[in-house]
Symmetry: D3
C-alpha cells in the first residue's frame, strides 16, 4: 500500500487500525563505474514496497536524496546538507504526526544517512513535544538499514567474501540488476580497488577512491543474487517492522 | 534517461554535450475523495520522464514532497515548510552545479510549489555567486507547470468546462488513471462542491473545502483522457525544455 | 491612519472594530538611469496611505527592502535573501496577530516580492498554528500589487503602449514624479532597450539589461500621469481591501 | 541625500568620492498612552536625514521595525526576533558592501536595538570575510544612538530632570511633536509611574509597566523642545559621522 | 555546588528551595603574548564557583567559547558566530527552565559576549513564551560581568592606572596567575602598545593590535593581585546574585 | 597541554610541528540516582587531558553540553538540539581550521553525541570547502569514544558483567569517583532496573527508565576501578590519536 496511491479517505481508514508508516530513504550518489547513481534509493524503495505488501503497511514516498556530501566530487551526486536533512525529516514527521501516525519505520539504503537520521529523530521528538500535539510523546522512529540486516550480511559473505567491500557493493548492485535489468552497466573495473580509508570531505574522498568504489567488486553481482538479497531483506525488515509496530 | 539509472561515468559523458537536467517536483497531499495523495508527484514524474526521453535529457529524482501546508488538516498530507523547501532546492542545485549542470528545468505538478520554487531560485543564484563556482553566473532555472501549459488548459476546457475546478481536477486525476489504472478510486462525490475561496491556513482550508476538492468534478476523468493530457503535456514541455536549453 | 502616528491605546480601540491592517512593501533597487532606487517602496507607501485614509484602515510601517537579489549588481540596491524575508514577514505577522490583527493586506510595489511573500504567508499560517494563538486559524493575508491592478494596467496601455515595459516603467516613474517632483532625474536613455530576457542571477541580469531598464521608456512619465496612476490605484486597492476585510 | 531619491547612476557617482552611508533604525512599539508607536523610527529617520543633509551623506531607507519583543504585550508593537534582525542587517550590509560601501553609520532611536545591532555587526564582518569581497576587511559599522548623545542628555536633564525616565521619555515625545504636530496626543497620565524594574519578557514587562511608560512624564514635552533636541542631535551626530568617515 | 557534581535527585531537591543558577561564560581567544587563551573562561569559572559556594547556589558548566570573532586572526582563538551563540543560550535556558529554574545569573568574563548575550536573553524570553511552559513569564536572566564590577575597577585603577587597558589587561592576567601559577608566561612586550582603536573585523583587528593587547601592560600582573581581584569579584557578584535571586 | 593555558604565541609555535588538537565533549545529563550530572563531560575532559599529556597534544576546552534531549525530563539536564550542536561544531572547527589545525580528534563521553557529531563533521567539511580555506580539503575529524574502546569494554565486562548496563554505568561512575572522590553519592538503588527499551522522546524515556539508569548497577563502582578505566582509556586513545595524527 503506497501512500501515493491512496486517497485521503483511505488513509483516514488506515489510521483507525494502524499508526505505522514505512518511509524509504536512499541517496543520489555515485556508485562506482557500473553502479547506478540511484542505487540506494532504488533498493530502499523496492524493499520498502515489499515490506509494505507483506505487512499490510502504508509506504510513504521515497526520500531519494540523502546525506552524500562526501561523494560530491563525482558528477551526478546530489546531497542535502545534514542541517537540511534534519529539517526535512522534522517536516515529514510533523505532518504525519498531525495526521495521527506515531510509528515511523525508515527503510534506509545508505550508510551515510544513519547519523543524520538519528540526529533528526532526536530533533523531531523535541519539536513535537514543543508543539503540544496530543500524541507527541508516543511518537517513535526506527531505522531499518536493509544492507545491514543479518540475512543480507550472511548472504553477501557467502557470495562475495571480502569482495563485498563497503560502497558500490555487489550486493546492492545485484538488487538494482534484479529490479532494473535494462540498466545493467558494463565498464572496465581495475583489479585493485582502494579500501579502508576513512571518509572525510568530498575532494579527499575522490583522491582516495578514484573510481568511487570502496573495496568492492560489483562485477560479481547478478540479477539472481539481487532477487535473493531482495527477498531476504523484505523478510527480515517485515519482521522488524511488525515488532516495532506492536511494541509498547 | 533517468539520473538514477545512470552511472557517474555516464553523467560525466552527458555533461560533455549538455548542461541541462529536468527535475520533477510534486506534492504529497489530499486530492479529494477519489484523487491519489501522490497525484502531483506521479504526474510530474511521468511527464518528466516522457520529456526526458523525447528530448534526450537527464531526469533527476522526483521531489515527492513540496509545499502543501494548506492541505495539512487532511490525513496523509506531507509538507515541507517553505523555509525548508528553499534549502532543499538550494542543496540540490548546489550539488548539481558543482557537477557542471547549469540549466535546471523543473517540471512541476503542484500550484502550491510555485511561489516557494521561485523564491528558491533567487536564493540559489545568490548562494552560488557567494560560492565562487566558476559557472555560477550562468546557472538558470525554469519552471514548467504541466497543468498550466496551453494545450493542457485547452483540452481541460473542452473536456470538462468549468467542472475542471482548481484542485483534485479531472485532468490531473485522469493522468493518474492513465498511469495507475489499478489505483482508480470510487467514492461518493457531493453534487455541490465548494469553490472560489481564497487559500489561507490548513484548518481554514478544510473548513471551506470539506472533502478536499476545489470546484472540481473528478468523476469526469477517464484513463483515455489521461493519455491525452499526458501526451499534450510531454509535447509542450519538451518544446519548452529545448528552448530553454538552447537559449543564451 | 498610520500605525506609527498612533498610540497603543488608539490601536487598542481600533482593534475593537477592525482586525485589518495594511502593510506597504516595496524594494530598494535600481530603476534605470532616471528611476529612483526607492521607487517601489515610495509608490507602495503613498498608495497604502491613500487606501488607509479612504478605508479608515491602519497602515503599518513600510517594508522598504524586499527581494531584489537580481538587481544586486547595480550600486545602491539592497536586498533581503528570500529566506530572510520569510522570517521578517513571519515576525511582523506574529507580533500583530498577538495584538489581535487577523486581516493583513499587503500593498506591494515590486513584482520580485510576490513569490517570497506568498511563501511567507504559508510559512506564517503554519507558524501561528504551532503557537496556539486563539485566533491563529482566522489569520488571512492578501497581496495587492498596485502595478497589476486592472485600472493601472489599462491606463499604462493607453499612455505608453508597449513602451511601458516591465521594470523602471513609465507608470511607476510617473508616480514617483508626482510624489517627489524635486527628485525628477534627467539622464540620456538609449533608444533601444533590452527586453524579454528571463531573470536569473544578478551578474546575468546586468549583462542582459545594462542600464537597468527592462523594455521601458521612462522618459514618457509625467507627474500628471503619476497623479492619475495614484488615484486609480488607491481607488482599486481600497475596494480590494474592503472586500477582503469584510469577507469571511 | 536619500538613497531612495537617487538613481543608481547617482549612487555610482557618490561612491567615487565617499564610501559612507547612514542607516536610520528605529522600532515599532508602544510609547505610553501619549507617545507614538513609531516614535523611535520617526526620530531616527528625521535626525538621519538632517545629518545626511549637513554632512552631504547618503541616507538609506529607515529600518522601522527593530528588537522590541519586551513591548509585545501592548497592541501595535511589531518586533523582529534578534535572530531575524541579525540576518536583516547582514543582508543590508552585504548588499551595500557589494556596491562598494564600507562605512556604515547607524542612527538608532531605540535602546533595545543596541545589543542585537552590535551582535549583527560582528556576524556581518565574519560573513563578508567568508565571501571574499575585495574590501571585506575594511568594512566598518558604527552606532550613533541619538538619544544618548551628550548634548541630548544635557538638554533632557535641564528640561525634565529625573522625569525624563527611560522609555516614552519627554525628549523623544518632544521630537515627534516637533516633526508631526498633527499627531500630538492627549491622554490621562497617572501621577505615579513605574520605574527602575529590569526588563525581561513581554508579559512581565506589562505587569511592571502597566501603561507602558518607564519612569517618564511625557506630558512635559513640547514641539519647541523637540526642535531643540532635533538640532542638538543632528549637530552631534553629524560630527560623529564625519569623524567615523574620515578615520582610518 | 557545581551542577556537574550533583545527581539529578540533588537538583530536584535544590529546586524545592531555589530557582536560581549561575552560568559562567568566557571565551577562547588570544590575550596578548603572555595572557592565556582561556583567560576569560578561567576567570569566569573560578569566580562563579566562588560565588556559588558563598551564596549556596548551583553553578552550571562553563561556556568556554563565546563571541570572539574579532580575535579570529590569532591562532588558537575559537568563536561562535553570534547567531550560533543565540541558539546555544536558548537551548541551555530552555532545558533548565523545563527543569524549573527561572533565575539565570551569567557570570561573564568577556566584554565581547555582552551584546550577543543580551540579544539571546530577549530571544529566549520570546521562545519560552511560545512554548507555553507554565513559568515562562517568570524567567529572568541577569548578566554579571566580573571585570566591570565597581570594586574590580577601583582596584585595577589603583594598581595599574591607565596601563590596565581594555584587553589582555593586567587584572585578568593576574587572576589567571593566581589560579594557574604554573602557567605564568614570560614573553617580551613592546613598550608602546596600540590602544583606542574601534573593533571591526578580525583582519582589521590584528592590523591595529599586532600583538593582541589593547592598551594594556600585563607585565604588571602578580598572583597576589589576582587573589585580590578574585576576592573582590566574588564578594560583589555574590551580592548581586542574591539581590537578583530575591527580587520579584 | 591545554589550549586554555597557552598563549597565542605558543599555539603559533605548536602549529609549526603539529596540526592536531584534541576536543573533549561530554554531556550535562542525569546519570541515575548516584551518578553525577557532569559524568560524561568530566570523564571526557580528564581522559583528554591524559591523552594530551601523553601524546604532547593540545587539548581544547571541554564541550560540556551535548545532545541529551532524551534525558530532558530529569532536572538538571541541559541539551543542545542537534541542529544547534551542528552549528557549534561547525564554528569551532572553522575557527581552528583558520588557525591552521587540520586534525580534530574528539574524545567523547556520551553515546548520544555520536550521531550528531558525525553529521556535524560532514556539514563542516562541506562548509570549509565553500570557504575556500587553503587547507580545507585536508581537514579530518575523528571520534574517540572512550567508553567504547576495547580495553574499557573488556575491563567493564570483567568487573561488572551484564550489570554494566548502558547508561549511568558503573564504569563511568567509577571514573568520576576516581576523579572527584568528594562527590561520591549514596542513594538507594532499586534491585530491578529497567533495560533494553529503545530511546525515543524525553517523556517516554523517563516513563521507561524511572530512576534514570539503563540496566546498570552503579553501586559496583569504586574509585580504584575508576583509576583502571582512566588508565586504559588514556592508553588506548593516545594510540588512536597518534595513528590519526600520523595518517595521510
Amino acid at each position: 500500500m503506497q501512500l501515493h496511491l491512496c486517497s485521503w479517505i483511505e488513509v483516514d481508514d488506515y489510521l483507525k487500525h494502524s499508526p505505522g508508516i514505512i518511509l524509504p530513504i536512499g541517496s543520489t550518489e555515485q556508485h562506482g563505474p557500473t553502479g547506478l547513481i540511484g542505487t540506494d534509493a532504488l533498493c530502499a524503495e523496492a524493499i520498502a514496497q515489499g515490506v509494505g505488501e507483506t505487512a499490510q503497511a502504508l509506504v510513504g514516498p521515497t526520500l531519494h536524496v540523502g546525506m552524500a556530501l562526501h561523494h560530491g566530487d563525482f558528477p551526478g551526486t546530489i546531497s542535502l546538507k545534514p542541517s537540511t536533512l534534519l529539517l526535512v525529516i522534522r517536516d515529514y514527521l510533523t505532518s504525519l504526526a498531525r495526521s495521527g501516525f506515531t510509528k515511523f519505520f525508515f527503510i534506509n539504503g545508505h550508510g551515510g544517512n544513519i547519523a543524520t537520521l538519528k540526529a533528526a529523530f532526536a530533533e523531531t521528538y523535541a519539536h513535537l513535544a514543543e508543539l503540544d500535539l496530543p500524541q507527541a510523546d508516543r511518537v517513535q522512529c526506527q531505522l531499518g538499514n536493509w544492507f545491514a540486516s543479518a540475512g543480507v550480511n550472511k548472504l553477501a559473505r557467502e557470495l562475495y567474501g571480502d569482495r563485498e567491500g563497503s560502497h558500490a557493493t555487489p550486493s546492492e548492485v545485484a538488487v538494482t540488476q534484479y529490479l532494473y535489468p535494462a540498466a545493467i552497466k558494463q565498464a572496465p573495473l581495475s583489479e585493485v580497488v582502494a579500501s579502508s580509508h576513512k571518509i572525510y570531505g568530498a575532494v579527499d574522498f575522490r583522491r582516495r577512491y578514484p573510481d568511487g568504489r570502496m573495496g568492492s567488486d560489483p562485477s560479481l553481482a547478478t540479477p539472481e543474487h539481487g532477487r535473493q538479497f531482495y527477498e531476504v531483506a523484505v523478510k527480515e525488515l517485515t519482521k522488524a517492522y511488525l515488532e516495532f509496530l506492536n511494541a509498547d
